[in-house]
């Protein structure tokens, strides 16, 4: 469904953030991207929807090659890739509803969006999504009145109303407390399952990643060091990804906490 071929990103400063990354993600697979800060996780997902221009290599979304697209065609393809951000990236001074509907910007013309005259179908879908994430009564609130977890839910709605085939998720839980982090991760994974979406989730919290995803990719210095199921993450593997550290506690804690949160 998504295929990266020899994807390279070299920044102007000469830093090579990605070194010929090859990756193939089948339909409906939820994948966690782990790795130390600066490993190129954010760059990788931003190269897919070209918020960062890759230096070379190809990105195939379905049959379409993205790196060579004109800006108009790129905009159409971006509609198929919903993105969720670390700091939520909601437009703070707009209402929750406007933020959710902004996910439809790629589908409606400028004046309709400017005058907030979205098609009724989109408005219905926005209400449905807000209801699904439990924020229906917040629709009229301004985004900056919400708590972190609520904002991230709005961010999820904004990504889903695009009707995407793929979710690009950049550190969804980094600004959230542990409980909310789990709720948000669970919500993202449930929604992916419901809608058959593939997702790439950048995440720092290895335990959290193991809890929810089907496949883990370990990135180090812009190259893939590990690719496998979550339970194959052994202390040795974590050492190759992150470097020397006592990993037992990190992995062990998974089971205990998971039971407690699963309710």
């Amino acid at each position: 469904m998504l295929r990266l071929e020899k994807l390279v990103k070299t920044y102007k400063t000469g830093d090579q953030a990605l070194k010929a990354v090859d990756l193939d993600i089948p339909e409906g697979q939820v994948l966690a991207l782990i790795g130390p800060s600066g490993a190129g996780k954010s760059t990788l997902i931003r190269c897919i929807n070209r918020l960062v221009e890759p230096s070379s290599g190809q990105v195939y979304l379905g049959e379409t090659e993205l790196t060579g697209l004109s800006s108009g065609a790129l905009r159409r393809e971006r509609r198929r890739m919903g993105m969720i951000f670390q700091e939520y990236a909601l437009v703070e001074r707009l209402t929750v509803m406007e933020n959710v509907l902004s996910g439809r910007l790629g589908y409606v013309g400028f004046w309709r969006s400017f005058l907030r005259k979205y098609p009724q179908k989109d408005v219905d879908e926005a209400f449905r999504l807000l209801d699904r994430v439990g924020l229906l009564e917040m629709a009229d609130k301004r985004a900056d009145e919400l708590s972190g977890g609520q904002r991230q839910r709005v961010g999820i709605c904004r990504a889903l109303i695009q009707d995407p085939a793929l979710l690009l998720v950049d550190e969804p839980t980094a600004s959230l407390d542990p409980k909310t982090s789990r709720q948000i991760m669970r919500l993202i994974c449930e929604l992916c399952k419901e809608r058959g979406l593939a997702a790439i989730i950048n995440i720092h919290d290895v335990a959290l990643a193991q809890m929810f995803v089907q496949r883990v990719i370990g990135l180090r210095f812009g190259a893939i060091e590990f690719d496998g199921p979550p339970d194959a993450l052994t202390p040795d593997v974590l050492t190759t990804i992150y470097g020397e550290e006592d990993w037992e506690a990190t992995i062990e804690s998974v089971d205990e906490e998971d039971l407690e949160v699963a309710e």
């Binding site: 890739m81 919903g82 990236a89 437009v91 707009l94 790629g106 400017f114």
Partner: protein
């Protein structure tokens, strides 16, 4: 920070001896320049007038009081003109300043190499010339009257508004812009959803601030014939009608105080 040993103790001083000396010389030179300038100014001043000043000021004060209150009937229209010059001028300047600001801001300019310098030039050139001088020029071009005043205020304000606005644009949170871009929005949609909501408070603040300044500026435009209450002021000054001058100054004061109050209220409501 020199430290040196003196009888086994570490002695600390802020400056070395050399630095202290340099400081002392600097002060000496500074005082000498001040004394010299003082002397020059003193020579160029006709001190008789200066000693006379309190008496003259007192004289004008007695002539100007009480203000000629019945003259107020003739000031209604000029002060209305003045307010209109300020308001219209501010509106026109804002309309022109918004595109200039977008062209000048580093993160929104279409070309940092060609268009941005032009936008910056517009900002600098409109800002550097006083509105009184703009009015003089415009009166020569489009004739005396309120319209010249409106245009003078408008041109003078472009640079001010555009500069503050483009600084606000450069300080926006880029992740919100990124998020809107990622939805597949067009360039104009990104502007309307990602940028405009973020700069709206700054825009409103700039608008009332400049309106407030423009009311003060437009009161003097009449001195050169560009309409408004300044016209009455210069006429009254010319015929030495001090009670009228006093009343005009009071009216201007009242207008400025009211505009200050309004803009403070509006700014308070936005922020």
């Amino acid at each position: 920070m020199p430290v040196h040993d003196w009888k086994g103790q570490k002695v600390w001083q802020l400056r070395t001896q050399r630095e202290s000396l340099a400081h002392w010389v600097m002060w000496l030179v500074g005082v000498a320049i001040f004394a010299y300038c003082w002397q020059q100014i003193s020579q160029a001043t006709t001190w008789a007038f200066v000693w006379d000043a309190p008496r003259i000021a007192g004289d004008i004060w007695t002539r100007a009081t009480p203000p000629r209150w019945e003259y107020i009937t003739q000031l209604g229209e000029p002060i209305w003109d003045t307010l209109n010059i300020a308001t219209m001028g501010t509106i026109i300047s804002l309309i022109l300043a918004v595109p200039v600001a977008f062209l000048a801001a580093r993160n929104t300019t279409p070309s940092a190499l060609f268009i941005r310098p032009i936008a910056l030039l517009i900002i600098v050139s409109t800002r550097s010339i006083n509105s009184l001088i703009w009015a003089l020029l415009l009166i020569a071009i489009i004739g005396p009257g309120v319209f010249a005043g409106v245009i003078a205020i408008a041109i003078r304000s472009i640079g001010f508004c555009a500069k503050l606005l483009y600084e606000a644009i450069e300080e926006i949170d880029e992740t919100q812009v990124e998020a809107i871009t990622a939805t597949g929005a067009s360039r104009w949609q990104v502007m309307a959803y990602g940028i405009v909501p973020q700069i709206l408070p700054a825009f409103a603040g700039i608008a009332v601030f400049r309106w407030d300044i423009n009311i003060r500026e437009s009161t003097v435009l009449g001195l050169v014939g560009a309409g408004g209450i300044g016209l009455q002021l210069s006429a009254s000054l010319n015929i030495l009608a001090w009670p009228q001058v006093a009343l005009i100054l009071l009216v201007i004061l009242a207008a400025v105080v009211i505009s200050e109050w309004v803009s403070a209220k509006v700014r308070g409501a936005i922020i």
